[in-house]
Homo-oligomer: 110 residues x 2
DNA sequence: TTTGTTGTTCGCAAAATTACGAACAATATT
DNA sequence: AATATTGTTCGTAATTTTGCGAACAACAAA
């Protein structure tokens, strides 16, 4: 069933699922919100905002990085994190197109 | 850190995370794509499209229903599923607003 | 009443996720 | 060289997720 892939849109369903999965945890969503509200910040700033162990924060950041939604940069002795803007736009587009597949007014479960 | 909640937007971060989590599995995303491409269909139709056991399909449908993205209706002896349009629109709006928090052109990790 | 159809639920196993403290690495400071 | 700062990685435990077959429920048909 390749209904997402074979549309006129360019949605990569696997990538969309990866984006969604990364966003699917409250802590990671918080981190994304936090980062999206500023240019960039250090690990410590993010860690300060969250009531969990730094090891766990680091792990969530790693997952967000692997999903492509953020990026990290060493700025010794700190690590600067920020939104990965290119992929952010891609995700924005993917989600928008995904939800638009329902936009035509169909009657549903009437 | 309530950066999503205290914006001018009306994003409910927990609900957004629930939507995202439900979409974060390839099979569930496929099901959503499939349902979004039609008015409604029966369990058997969905099951036919997927290479997994019906028990697993049923479980994924249950999760999508609990997340609010789809709805099911008994039409004896079949079960008719379809997109939950109200929540679909809500999800669409939430994701769009979420990704728009980055829309202002900020320089990021230059 | 037996049989068939359609899906859900149960019980279980395997795998993945989440969270933590401790140890570590890299670098700067004393 | 010893110490301090900043984060990552490791090892582990607890929980959740995923997937399956078998059993079941509800109903229609023979």
């Amino acid at each position: 069933m390749n209904c997402c892939e074979n549309k006129h849109t360019n949605i990569d369903a696997e990538q969309l699922a990866r984006f969604a999965k990364a966003m699917g945890h409250p802590t990671r969503l918080e981190i994304l919100c936090f980062l999206a509200s500023m240019d960039s910040c250090y690990f410590g700033d993010i860690n300060n905002e969250l009531p969990i162990a730094k090891a766990t924060v680091s792990q969530h950041l790693k997952e967000l990085k692997e999903a492509g939604l953020i990026q990290g940069e060493i700025e010794t002795p700190k690590v600067k994190y920020c939104i990965n803007r290119a992929n952010w736009e891609k995700a924005k587009t993917y989600f928008a197109e995904f939800f638009d597949t329902m936009s035509e007014t169909k009657v549903c479960c009437k």
